[in-house]
């Protein structure tokens, strides 16, 4: 079809629509001036301005003009194409045109919102509209191709976010691969004693879900495993998973724990990770009593057999004919095909050694909040007795808020959970010890259901609140073992010095140390601060810019358990919506070869990262299924005989001329 048909002057009939977006655009850009300018451009037969083009009446304008005025091309100048390109393509199609006879102009995110000079912003909008009008004349009718979706899904990270997402999808009948790098699932939540603000026991609500993961036939649970490599695209990802050796045959181990008892080490000598090093474990150990899978693991860095090869191997003796211990295990790999991936890789807590003024690691009775979580826990290293390192029970406790949060020297953001867990720990420590507890805070942030009520309750219990940041922590004179917390009480307007037996640092939440590597593996983006970036902060909070990859939990930003579970459910339903449809539509921006012009020079072949180009009968040939539409081969072809749908050379040249045409 010749697109020039019907216009009478060799040009297709173009309709231009300029959006006010309320005052978002019209507040800076003279929308009427842009509309009038567009009206005078060659080929433009309709130019309209409208309050909200994305609204139904706005879209109706386009459809009506296509029907009534015989428009052949549509240009909408409004927000970013990432927001509404699909909307207007659909409207174009519903009006009766091929949806790719459409071009979008971004005059909001990249114009009215970033400029203050009204005349310059208007001129820029006119230039951009002109470029689109130039370009759209060369658009070709294109069709989206459909690719089927693999219905299996993968969840990376076995904390509460990953567990909830995996169970939701497994219960919907999908096969889920749950990949966890630690020996057990459970994540941080398994380490908590109680959960705020309801004070229900974390293990009591988490462990049933953990065992459900193990028993659900739709879930393949891989612990001590990490994602090594991801290939493919939405609907058809090929994920390579690396299994670290547990030195235990998973199918043979029954979790009797007799090997731990039998180990030649009488006492543990390795800091117990689960209890943050507050006690020692043996080289063969179970991460925690409720671990899922309930299997032991051998730490090769601590085990004598690995060090010297001359251990008596009492563990093997006691395991006897179960033969569950295998010192010869090595790394293995699995490759699976999945349609979608949910990342639930969680967070790490701030390392208070980075702020030395609080004395962590210097004074023995300065603890992190996570350590106190383990101390108050009845299955923790002290069986729930809150004691100092010298065995005394603290009489006075200072809780320092915002360690590694809301601080220009560390992290500027609020970690959201620390106020509430500080209140919870204040309550639990006071309940167990009767100590006087002083909270040093900047602001108490108790937003959310039941939170303010919990704050009031803890305050009524007699916990003290001092508004001010602790400036210094130093030992009290006279070898009392206590430290003095010095802070300005900003409500009283004077400096206070409070001697305490125990200091609790309410450390904030940070991205995992290897979040950057995970981000690269899955080709997604990190936002400021290093947490994974969502596609849209409000409207696509669990999606990423890579289709088919979703986010759940604190890997996207600090959040508490209720929000994490809600987000995990959202991510699961997004993934389900994707894989249940059964197919994905691919953007038709693939490259293609003009065979008669191709000289067969092979320049393009090594450039393609997807090996989509091959040489057939002396000429290049592009497999449209493999092509992802980057256009690198197009730019590199010496004879200009590779072209790209949606980004044809002519279209881009016309844009260049268009933006520069303004006198």
């Amino acid at each position: 079809m010749n697109p020039a048909d019907g216009s009478g002057n060799g040009q297709p009939k173009i309709g231009v629509y300029v959006c006010h977006c309320g005052t978002n655009i019209a507040g800076i850009i003279d929308v009427e001036a842009v509309r009038a300018y567009a009206e005078g451009l060659p080929g433009v037969t309709v130019a309209r301005a409208y309050k909200y083009m994305c609204s139904d009446p706005g879209q109706e304008l386009i459809k009506e003009d296509i029907r009534a005025n015989g428009l052949e091309r549509v240009v909408v100048a409004s927000c970013s194409p990432t927001l509404h390109e699909a909307t207007f393509r659909r409207a174009t199609a519903e009006g009766g045109l091929n949806s790719y006879y459409f071009q979008m102009v971004n005059i909001r995110e990249q114009d009215s919102w970033v400029h203050t000079d009204k005349a310059e912003a208007t001129r820029k909008a006119q230039d951009l509209v002109r470029a689109a009008v130039h370009r759209v004349r060369f658009h070709k009718p294109l069709e989206r191709s459909r690719v089927s979706i693999n219905p299996a899904v993968m969840v990376v990270g076995g904390g509460i976010a990953g567990i909830h997402a995996a169970l939701t999808m497994a219960n919907a009948g999908k096969h889920v691969y749950l990949v966890e790098r630690e020996p057990s699932i459970g994540g941080h939540m398994a380490q908590f004693d109680k959960t705020f603000p309801t004070l229900d026991c974390a293990a009591c609500i988490l462990t049933p879900k953990m065992t459900e993961v193990r028993s659900n036939p739709n879930i393949t649970l891989w612990t001590m495993a990490e994602v090594d490599k991801v290939d493919g695209y939405v609907g058809n990802y090929t994920v390579t998973v690396r299994h670290k050796p547990r030195f235990i045959v998973e199918d043979a181990c029954v979790g009797c724990l007799e090997c731990i008892e039998a180990c030649v080490y009488v006492r543990g000598k390795t800091p117990d990770e689960f209890n943050l090093g507050l006690n020692m474990r043996k080289p063969v150990y179970i991460p925690f009593p409720q671990a899922v899978p309930p299997l032991v693991v051998i730490d090769r860095d601590a085990c004598i057999e690995f060090k010297s090869g001359r251990c008596k191997k009492t563990c093997v003796e006691v395991c006897a004919d179960r033969n569950a211990i295998d010192f010869t295990q090595t790394e293995t790999f699995d490759t699976v095909e999945v349609g979608s991936v949910i990342l639930a890789t969680g967070f790490k807590t701030f390392d208070p050694k980075r702020t030395p003024s609080y004395g962590y690691g210097v004074y023995p009775n300065v603890y992190t909040a996570m350590e106190i979580e383990r101390l108050v826990n009845s299955s923790g290293p002290t069986e729930g007795h809150v004691t100092l390192r010298d065995g005394r029970t603290p009489q006075t406790v200072g809780i320092l808020h915002c360690i590694g949060s809301r601080d220009v020297n560390t992290n500027v953001y609020c970690s959201r959970v620390c106020c509430m867990y500080s209140l919870k720990l204040a309550h639990l420590v006071k309940e167990k010890t009767g100590a006087e507890i002083y909270n040093f805070y900047i602001d108490i942030r108790a937003a959310g259901k039941g939170m303010e009520e919990f704050y009031n309750r803890v305050a009524e219990e007699g916990v003290h609140f001092i508004r001010g940041k602790v400036a210094d922590v130093y030992p009290e004179a006279g070898k009392t073992g206590r430290v003095v917390l010095q802070a300005e009480d900003t409500l009283l307007g004077r400096v206070r010095k409070i001697p305490v037996d125990m200091v609790v640092l309410a450390t904030g939440l940070e991205p995992q140390a290897d979040a950057e590597d995970v981000r690269r593996t899955f080709n997604i983006t990190c936002a400021g601060g290093g947490f994974f970036m969502e596609r849209h902060p409000k409207l696509a909070p669990v999606s990423t810019f890579t289709d088919g990859i979703f986010l759940a939990g604190a890997c996207q930003g600090p959040k508490d358990i209720p929000d994490t579970v809600a987000q995990a459910g959202a991510a699961a339903s997004e993934a389900l919506a994707l894989v249940d449809r059964g197919y994905v539509e691919m953007e038709p921006n693939t490259a293609y070869v003009m065979r008669e012009e191709c000289s067969g020079c092979k320049t393009c072949i090594p450039l393609c990262p997807y090996t989509a180009i091959s040489r057939v009968d002396g000429k290049a040939q592009i497999n449209p299924v493999l092509c992802k539409g980057c256009g690198t081969c197009v730019a590199a072809c010496p004879s200009g005989s590779i072209r790209q749908n949606l980004f044809e050379d002519e279209e881009i040249y016309e844009e260049i001329l268009g933006v520069l045409a303004h006198a």
Binding site: Q11, S80, E109, C630, T632, V634, I652
Partner: protein, 171 residues
């Protein structure tokens, strides 16, 4: 540290540089969107043309922009290791280095053509690069490019070619 910028006489006379920017769809274009949603402010001189990957930027696009009145060209892509297409940015870089040498040989100052890696989260970098580019090109003054056989090109072409004529090539 950026070098000090000397201002030419022309830039004092109210002339504003015209900059054409080619941004990749996945990183730099999104950074520009983020600058908008963050309501950052920067110089309005650049006109952005979206491509899927910085690897799609044909050196001829840059030439064409200069030949038609651009005073500067900015290419934006993903950081190394972040390319949505694995390595399109590397390919953009190797092409860019050669192109820049050719342009300098033609008498176009090096600072008029710039390649930057700006991730989708680096809205502040986008703003700074935009402002810095405009300041530097402003200091250089307008580009007076001699197009062989045509003499100095004052403005863009006046007439649009017939679509049917050009379309024959793409058909």
């Amino acid at each position: 540290m950026p070098e000090p910028i000397e201002t030419s006489q022309e830039s004092a006379a109210g002339w504003e540089p015209r900059i054409v920017a080619f941004f990749c769809n996945w990183c730099t274009y999104l950074a520009a969107d983020l600058a908008g949603t963050s309501r950052m402010k920067y110089a309005p001189n650049a006109r952005v043309i979206r491509v899927m990957c910085s690897g799609r930027v044909d050196p001829q696009f840059v030439m064409e922009a200069f030949a038609n009145g651009a005073d500067g060209v900015l290419v934006g892509g993903c950081h190394f290791g972040d390319c949505h297409y694995q390595s399109g940015n590397h390919k953009a870089l190797r092409r860019f280095r050669l192109l820049q040498r050719v342009l300098v040989g033609m008498g176009i100052e090096e600072e008029r053509i710039r390649l930057e890696w700006i991730s989708a989260a680096e809205a502040d970098k986008l703003r700074d690069v935009m402002n810095d580019m405009v300041a530097r090109v402003t200091a250089l003054g307008p580009l007076h490019l001699e197009v062989p056989g045509e003499g100095p090109r004052e403005g863009p072409r006046e007439e649009l070619p017939e679509v049917a004529e050009l379309q024959e090539v793409t058909a």
